[in-house]
């Protein structure tokens, strides 16, 4: 089974996110970077599927040259091939990103055959666009379901489990298919020593991105208004219990 996982490099946020002076991006001077959480789980899911069924996992990212770091992280946890689609800014708009990724995927498949599965994160942690996977799937003429909290493949059918208020929904897509994965589908493993060595040696393929600018234009980022910090301290230690239950009664949650 051949699986491609599309990941995004995002800042690992702390307790506060600061913005650069031009308002165009998150100030990362004091932040590290990570693979966006949903995609970290997508990589793990792909690796587990390949461990079960055989095959290989390729990881792809569209991002700055530094995003090689996230590709190597994915290799250290089980991916074997890595593709960088380099752009000179942090990210592109969703339409442009999807067009570029779809074009690169078609090129890769022309050389190596179709991927049985292409996994995306449900949405990126930073820009939260909720659409790159869906747009890419449509360009590749493949079915896609988002929100996967479970994914199994048996006889060319991918079974997706997804949570809703009413319970768990089950979808079945014939492969080749695309799936948007959500955190919680698994607990991603830590890199192994062997994985770390492989991640240092892996050759990262570069593919030039082609994509026209889309219709969603970032003007500026800003921080949401701070909540006034007028916390009412109800007490210290177990003696505060009485005041807490008074509050619960006042709010009507305990009668």
């Amino acid at each position: 089974m051949k699986i491609l996982v599309c990941v995004k490099r995002v800042p690992a946020p702390g307790a506060r996110i600061n913005i650069t002076a031009d308002g165009q991006q998150v100030d990362t001077a004091f932040l590290g970077f990570t693979v966006s959480p949903h995609e970290e789980c997508a990589v793990e899911q792909a690796v587990q599927l390949v461990e079960k069924h055989g095959g290989e996992v390729t990881v792809l990212t569209l991002g700055p040259a530094e995003a090689q770091e996230q590709l190597r992280t994915a290799v250290s946890t089980g991916a074997v091939k890595a593709v960088l689609v380099p752009i000179d800014i942090h990210d592109w708009d969703p339409q442009r990103t999807a067009q570029a990724i779809a074009t690169v995927i078609l090129g890769l498949e022309l050389a190596n055959g179709k991927y049985d599965l292409i996994l995306f994160g449900n949405e990126s942690a930073d820009s939260c666009g909720y659409q790159v996977g869906i747009r890419t799937a449509l360009k590749l003429d493949r079915p896609i379901v988002n929100g996967a909290k479970g994914l199994e493949v048996e006889n060319d059918v991918a079974t997706v489990r997804r949570e809703s208020d009413a319970g768990v929904e089950i979808y079945k897509l014939k492969t080749p298919a695309c799936i948007g994965v959500k955190e919680g589908i698994n607990l991603p493993r830590y890199p192994t020593m062997k994985g770390r060595l492989a991640s240092k040696k892996v050759e990262i393929t570069q593919s030039t991105p082609l994509g026209e600018v889309g219709g969603l234009k970032l003007i500026t980022l800003r921080r949401p208004p701070e909540r006034a910090s007028n916390t009412k301290i109800l007490g210290t230690g177990p003696e505060a219990a009485s005041a807490v239950v008074d509050l619960l009664e006042e709010l009507g949650v305990f009668k």
């Binding site: 946020p13 702390g14 307790a15 996110i17 913005i19 998150v26 959480p37 949903h38 969703p94 339409q95 999807a98 449900n122 942690a125 930073d126 939260c128 909720y130 659409q131 869906i134 747009r135 449509l138 003429d141 079915p143 896609i144 988002n146 997804r162 809703s164 208020d165 009413a166 319970g167 929904e169 089950i170 979808y171 079945k172 955190e183 919680g184 607990l187 969603l216 234009k217 970032l218 003007i219 980022l221 800003r222 949401p224 909540r227 910090s229 916390t231 009412k232 301290i233 109800l234 210290t236 230690g237 177990p238 505060a240 219990a241 005041a243 807490v244 509050l247 009507g252 949650v253 305990f254």
Partner: protein, 326 residues
């Protein structure tokens, strides 16, 4: 010249988020001096016209196709795209939920139009002719993005819990639109489901008692379970807890977990990292129980108890029992 609200429903049951969408669409249409219309997908949602008319839609488009008996993101997205092509709205608003984002993205991809998800505000001067300026939530709401949607038809989702449903009844016209769905969009319908046992869920519970790294172990959640039980609430947790394997991810509150809006959120031993905070910030009241008076969550919460949750939580449960027995 219309604003079209896409009504999210589950086999004929309207979602709460949809009521906010209907209200926001009506407000925007009024500002643009244009008509507000709604769309339901599948004949099993036809009966929702009664509710929708209370929110003031002049026309309710009902997309019909014999295949539309359950949710299917591709078939729903294709249905929206076809209704948009037939009715030429200027703005299409969907709900800021998992399904809402998915079907608007599907429609946008099919129409080759941009889409802005999780919008918090729309430009107050927007009349329909120009690009639509929006403020949308990034990082699950810890950052705001001002952006411009430059397209003949603007597709957006409204961030959840931003606009409360408010009625303004009218006599809605009903217009059935038969949509054409080919096999390519039919395989992604829900094939089967495991219904949740009746009871409150993390997303809907009025009381959530949540634990963080400070709880220390899976077993140490027992007092939180007890308190939640006494308040008929549910237990939640932070990402640190699920990463440690102490609780299932379904209990996780936060950007990559569940967004909640209970009457009270009791956060025990949670520092309040931004990814967690954005999942809890819609709570009507927050009570933080933490040994660190400077913890992020303590400074943001409405109420706090400074102390060790392992002692404070059982003391609260004991106090509740004492009053119950009176």
């Amino acid at each position: 010249m219309t604003v079209l609200a896409v009504v999210e429903h589950d086999r004929g049951t309207i979602s709460t988020a949809s009521l906010g969408v209907l209200t926001a669409a009506r407000n925007l249409a009024k500002q643009m001096n244009t008509k507000f219309e709604a769309l339901t997908i599948g004949a099993n949602a036809d009966a929702l016209s009664e509710v929708i008319s209370k929110y003031g839609a002049t026309t309710i488009h009902q997309a019909h196709n014999s295949a539309l008996t359950d949710f299917g993101p591709e078939a729903w997205g294709e249905s929206i795209a076809q209704v948009v092509n037939k009715t030429s709205p200027q703005v299409v608003i969907g709900s800021g939920t998992e399904r809402g984002h998915e079907i608007i993205a599907q429609a946008a991809a099919r129409l080759d139009l941009p889409a802005a998800m999780n919008c918090l505000e729309f430009d107050k001067d927007f009349t329909g002719a120009q690009a639509l300026k929006v403020v949308r939530a990034r990082w699950g709401g810890s950052l705001m993005e001002e952006s411009e949607l430059d397209a003949p038809i603007k597709l957006v989702t409204l961030a959840n819990h931003i606009v409360e449903g408010a009625q303004d009844p009218t006599n809605s016209q009903i217009a059935v639109i038969e949509v054409d769905l080919d096999d390519s969009v039919k395989q992604s319908f829900v094939q089967d489901r495991v219904e949740r046992v009746a009871g409150v869920t993390l997303a809907t519970s009025p009381v959530v008692v949540s634990g963080g790294r400070g709880v220390g172990s899976a077993e140490a959640f027992a007092p939180l379970e007890e308190l939640a039980g006494l308040l008929s609430g549910v237990v939640g947790c932070s990402r640190a807890v699920t990463n440690n394997g102490w609780r299932n991810h379904t209990d996780q509150v936060g950007q990559t977990g569940t967004r909640i809006a209970p009457d009270i959120y009791i956060a025990c031993g949670i520092s309040g990292a931004i990814q967690h905070w954005v999942g809890a910030m819609a709570s009507k009241n927050i009570l933080a129980i933490n040994i660190d008076a400077q913890a992020n969550i303590v400074t943001k919460a409405g109420y706090a108890v400074i102390g060790d949750l392992h002692v404070v939580v059982p003391a609260i449960s004991a106090e509740i029992r004492k009053r119950q027995n009176k």
